[in-house]
């Protein structure tokens, strides 16, 4: 086999493998979308149906039976609020850690990261009891607080990494030019870190939206998020595949669309510092 033939073979093999892996990863989601347009009978047919007449009845039933819009609204509100609150708390912290490094800065960052290493279930009982005592069970407030706190370490870390890359001398120069702290932030720091802020915010929005553990444990009918909605479809009466698929599809659709439009920023945010 000469060099160019081997080259072509490698190329085709690589392409095939890549497609294969991608289809494998995409398969669950693709099947989910397909199933949501089937009737229940079609959904459980053997062999699995690939071609059928699509129907929208499942979506209607889901909305009618369990008020999709309420859960979607809750997801949206808790995600947005926790992201905004988190940014407001994380940014000043990251700013002071990046530009006014103290003796314990590295330790504090490590400790923050270590709190994410504990499985959430370890803190379930204390937090549940706290929420209950405060009368915040099944309330959006409890969810916003918990989402903010669980995303805070990630936000601080990401913002710290972005801010660390800005030379301190640029900020000192702005101070010499007469800028107050607020002007320094608005006119110099913000334009330089806008990309980083966007990536961090987007990532946390996605994390909060997908959050299932706390939503299931701390909320029910009133403040439930879309995660709660989906879980409610796996009931003891049996699995309603088509309706479950429809509910799942409706739950993930908004965030997938959102992610599609902001994928550049998301990738940037997730791979920051990977290539220097």
């Amino acid at each position: 086999m000469n060099h160019s033939t081997r080259h072509a073979l490698t190329f085709y093999l690589r392409t095939l493998t890549t497609w294969g892996v991608t289809l494998l990863l995409f398969f669950p989601l693709g099947w989910l979308v397909l199933t949501s347009f089937k009737t229940e009978l079609q959904a459980i047919s053997v062999p699995p149906l690939l071609f059928f007449t699509p129907t929208l009845e499942n979506f209607a039933i889901v909305q009618e039976r369990s008020d999709y819009l309420l859960y979607a609204k809750n997801s949206l509100i808790t995600s947005l609020l926790s992201t905004v609150l988190g940014m407001m708390l994380a940014f000043p912290a990251a700013y002071s850690m990046a530009f006014f490094k103290g003796k314990y800065t590295k330790d504090i960052l490590m400790w923050m990261l270590s709190t994410k290493m504990m499985p959430a279930v370890g803190a379930l009982v204390p937090i549940y009891v706290l929420a209950q005592t405060a009368g915040l069970l099944d309330s959006r407030t409890a969810l916003v607080i918990v989402f903010t706190l669980s995303n805070l370490p990630i936000m601080v870390w990401m913002l710290y990494s972005y801010l660390k890359d800005i030379p301190n001398e640029i900020l000192e120069a702005s101070r010499m030019d007469g800028a107050t702290l607020w002007q320094e932030f608005r006119l110099v720091l913000l334009p330089l870190t806008l990309g980083g802020l966007a990536s961090t915010g987007l990532l946390c929005l996605v994390l909060s939206w997908n959050e299932a553990f706390w939503s299931l444990n701390l909320s029910a009918a009133k403040a439930g998020t879309l995660a709660t909605l989906i879980a409610s479809y796996s009931s003891p009466e049996g699995l309603f595949w088509a309706k479950l698929s429809a509910a799942s599809f409706m739950a993930i659709a908004p965030i997938v669309v959102f992610g599609w439009f902001s994928q550049k920023q998301l990738v940037q945010g997730l791979t920051f510092g990977a290539v220097k």
Binding site: M176, G178, L192
Partner: protein, 353 residues
């Protein structure tokens, strides 16, 4: 009255005393250079004056007003950073007009001031470029322009030429000297390069370990160093330092005995090469450096003294030749064991000025 006055300035970094009581008075329009080896505290001192670091003890006065604890944005000082610190997301024009914009100056006046500064620094064609699109020398000029436009009370330069290549460094040095001649602004310039200190300064402050070793005009420091450190720091190649053990023939210089443990300082130009046996000592040539207009000859004596001799002409000597070294006893500086000057040498040049 002093324009800028430093009284007992102290700075600690943790337990480490970095600046140990600095007293200095700077006149209006003076070009003062802080020079010293790495780690001597010259940049720290500059940052203390700028307000970018907190002064732990002592007082700082500008035009009679106490600014020791005033925020840097209010001190009316402009700083040119070693790394230029230009705002990457702004054009050259916006970089230079930033301070004026913050001071809410009329845009028409801003345009005029920036235009004038750009003209002085040959930046008019680059006003709309961003720092990314500029060369190192151009960025340097934008950094200087940013300071000029503000017409501050004092200009602060923090090793501005270190990041430039040798040719650009010499060129920019001359531009800075001309700028000072034209603008007459009070300037404090920090450098570790003593050539910059000698050529740019009205007065030089030599710093070591957070303390002032000597303050004076460049030639004062060259001709009348207060101690061994200043004598060896100013002047290149450095002053030859020999002890009696290395050159017993130096027992008495100019009729004066050399102090026990003391050192004799001899500038390379005060030594001459002669026929072996006719000078004070004989030695072997280690190295000959021909610089074109002058020649440096490195000689070592059998007692271990290493001397550099400077000649204003070419010579035919080669490594390994045995030569005699003649010293001008009048030009020798005598230092005691602790490094302080006990007798200042006289040179023909010094006598002339």
């Amino acid at each position: 009255m002093a324009y800028l006055k430093l009284q007992g300035i102290e700075k600690m970094f943790g337990d480490h005393r970095v600046i140990k009581g600095i007293d200095l008075e700077i006149k209006q329009g003076e070009f003062v250079v802080f020079v010293g080896p790495s780690g001597c505290g010259k940049s720290t001192l500059l940052r203390l004056i700028a307000g970018l670091e907190h002064i732990d003890a002592g007082a700082l006065q500008l035009e009679g007003r106490d600014i020791t604890h005033l925020a840097s944005s209010k001190r009316d000082l402009a700083m040119v950073f070693q790394s230029y610190a230009l705002y990457p997301h702004m054009s050259v024009f916006e970089n230079m007009s930033f301070a004026l914009k913050l001071a809410k100056i009329d845009p028409a006046i801003i345009k005029e001031k920036v235009g004038r500064a750009a003209q002085i620094l040959n930046l008019t064609d680059y006003l709309h470029r961003t720092p990314k699109e500029l060369s190192g020398g151009q960025r340097q000029r934008v950094a200087i322009g940013r300071a000029i436009v503000r017409a501050p009370k004092v200009f602060l330069f923090d090793e501005p030429l270190s990041n430039l290549d040798a040719a650009l460094r010499g060129q920019t040095r001359i531009e800075i000297a001309k700028l000072h001649r034209d603008l007459g602004a009070t300037t404090i310039y920090v450098t570790h390069d003593q050539v910059e200190a000698m050529t740019l300064a009205d007065r030089v402050v030599v710093l070591r370990d957070g303390q002032i070793e000597q303050v004076g005009t460049p030639l004062e420091l060259y001709d009348r160093p207060a101690n061994q450190f200043v004598a060896q720091f100013i002047g290149t190649p450095p002053m030859n330092m020999v002890s009696i053990t290395q050159m017993p023939a130096l027992e008495a210089v100019c009729g004066l005995p050399v102090a026990a443990g003391g050192i004799v300082g001899l500038r390379p130009e005060s030594l001459k090469i002669c026929v072996p046996g006719q000078g004070l000592v004989d030695g072997t040539v280690d190295l000959v450096e021909s610089l074109g207009a002058e020649t440096l000859i490195y000689v070592s004596t059998p007692q271990g003294a290493q001397l550099v001799v400077r000649l204003n002409e070419r010579c035919q000597l080669r490594a390994g030749d045995v030569v005699g070294v003649q010293i001008d006893a009048d030009a020798a500086h005598l230092f005691d064991a602790s490094g302080h000057i006990t007798r200042t040498g006289q040179t023909r040049q010094a006598l002339a000025h």
